[in-house]
Symmetry: C2
Subunit: 332 residues, 2 copies
DNA sequence: CTGAAAGCGCTTACAG
DNA sequence: CTGAAAGCGCTTACAG
């Protein structure tokens, strides 16, 4: 920076001002500095800057999920990419931290965040009771969750898709097809998605939501979808439709249905949830509920930006629910 | 840090030594400092440290791929996760940067890397001629590529799966099944994977690799697989086996085969490549070639660690090829 | 083994 | 609008 100052004939202070918005800098000085920067190929030292500004310009994307989900579920992928893009638009960088569930991994993340490496965290932890939420809260680092943080709805701002309404739309659709024995495969019940999608299902079916027609997948995996469908085929062999709480689970359910000789949608109509890539690669292709993950990502980043603006003693951000919508294809 | 020094009755220099390996520190001092750290809840300021050490402790994972691939191909996912884990084991953090192809996105990445935000980059850019490789090289930032960096094989160290041998194994397997009219769907030919997998195919089939039985997918997407299979069905309707250069492409090919009324594997044996999650969710499940992505990730991180050790004027790291192996399932 | 001190490269009131 | 100067919180020869 001294070189740039020398080359442009101004002080380091002025050079710094140019880099920080160019306020209180004369056009002449501005030009001289810009030229000098180009000539010298100067690049600012981020550590030195962070040391005084007390901001890193980085946001952590913390994925706290069991390994199965991480590797199988394409939703994380899509969310990750959209968040990365949204952050880039704010000139923020993303550091990715994955906690498979071990206490040591969580500790690493906490240490990292507390060391000031990041200004805030985008938290993706779908299962309730994850200790990392509390730990992060107590560390006083700004954060926003993706999906309702079960048990912390009031304390941690979040952005979630309207799972319940999406489930209602799908269930109503299945019923409008004339199906009367509609079953459901839920997600894990310790996730807000699992709970809300079942709630939406019940909203529509009311008392008719017979217990025998509800199967709980243990996790969001293809295999769990297969198993849940098999269970359903035993407990409610007369079912003529099934609402499955995720596309990946639905793909597994489709396999079990196929194996059992049931035709889709003729014998059994199948509805998924997510509108992920998977929905386009099943046979038949899945009728599903679209989650606007891009909107979720953008909203999360907006909140994080808001949270880190100012001196951190703000009123706290407000959570947001983004709407879902039905996507009709061949399975129902 | 002053607080810790005061609380433990030593100088800041000694406290610092404790944090940097504990060399030249008496047991008494060590204990006092550790106690003081626990009491005060002190966490080191990473910017201040980076400012003097000139290391950030972060590695960039740069994904330079067109959007389609990014969202569809699960291989990136798996690689990302394994790299994240391998870096964590070295106490390095990962910053994720995605360039969909725009020059502006590339500029952002370069600026970021040059600003010293990261010590090195893990580069994933499968298509040849990507300008980011050159740009990164000229910026003098240590890097290692995943897959052979076409056009830079000698200058950029890389870690790649043995695509060619994997393709050989698969092709030989199809032949051993008694198939005599073996076709192939290649990946894009501007990727080393696309080239090598075709080369392996030809290695085994020799002159019999009739041109009519080769179709090139334009990219690694489900849709491209469908289209390529349709083309093959027209140009070589008598085919009795097909080696597809990726599982995702193979899933698409399976759909076209199904639509055309060909049974798999009875009429047409299908072999994939990757051994990704997809291979387990197709019907029938895919016989494929396993790529040890975990090994690739670990090797990449090892190289990056080696590269950033010392003063950066080392001999440069050596590239590595990790072996692939056949995984037999129902499709062939 | 330890402390005092210089220095890493910036930003930001402060005074002009 | 601008410069001189203090200060951000560490590490690391240096001298002891």
């Amino acid at each position: 920076m001294d070189d740039v100052a020398a080359a442009s004939g101004v002080s380091r202070g002025t050079v710094s001002r140019v880099f920080n918005g160019g306020h209180y800098v004369s056009p002449t000085a501005l030009l001289a500095v810009q030229r000098a920067v180009a000539e010298t190929g100067y690049v600012i030292n981020s550590s030195a800057r962070s040391l005084v500004t007390r901001r890193s310009g980085a946001i952590a994307f913390v994925l706290s999920e069991p390994q199965e989900r991480l590797f199988e579920d394409p939703n994380f992928n899509v969310l990750l990419r959209h968040c990365s893009q949204a952050l880039a638009e704010h000139d923020l960088s993303m550091v990715l931290m994955i906690a498979g569930g071990g206490a040591d991994e969580r500790q690493r993340i906490l240490r990292f965040a507390r060391a000031g490496h990041v200004d805030a965290v985008l938290l993706v932890s779908t299962h309730g009771g994850d200790p990392i939420v509390d730990e992060l809260m107590h560390s006083n680092i700004p954060m926003v969750a993706c999906g309702v943080p079960l048990g912390h709805e009031e304390q941690v701002p979040y952005v979630a898709a309207d799972d319940r309404d999406g489930a209602r739309q799908m269930t109503a659709h299945l019923r409008s097809l004339g199906r009367s024995r509609i079953a459901t495969i839920t997600g894990p019940m310790d996730t807000s998605g699992g709970q809300q999608r079942l709630a939406g299902f019940k909203d529509v079916l009311g008392r008719r939501a017979a217990k025998a027609r509800i199967a709980h997948a243990t996790d969001y995996t293809y295999r769990a979808g297969e198993l849940a469908m098999q269970a359903l085929l035993r407990s409610a062999p007369d079912l003529d439709a099934v609402f499955v709480a995720s596309d990946l689970l639905a793909a597994g359910a489709l396999a079990s249905l196929h194996e059992a000789g049931r035709r889709v949608p003729e014998d059994v109509a199948v509805g998924g949830f997510d509108d992920s890539q998977i929905a386009l690669t099943t046979h038949p292709r899945l009728t599903t509920v679209h989650q606007p993950i891009d909107e979720v990502a953008r909203a999360m980043v907006d909140i994080v930006v808001e949270l880190t603006q100012g001196d951190g003693i703000g009123p706290g951000a407000t959570s947001r629910l983004v709407s879902t919508r039905l996507v009709l294809r061949e399975s129902a």
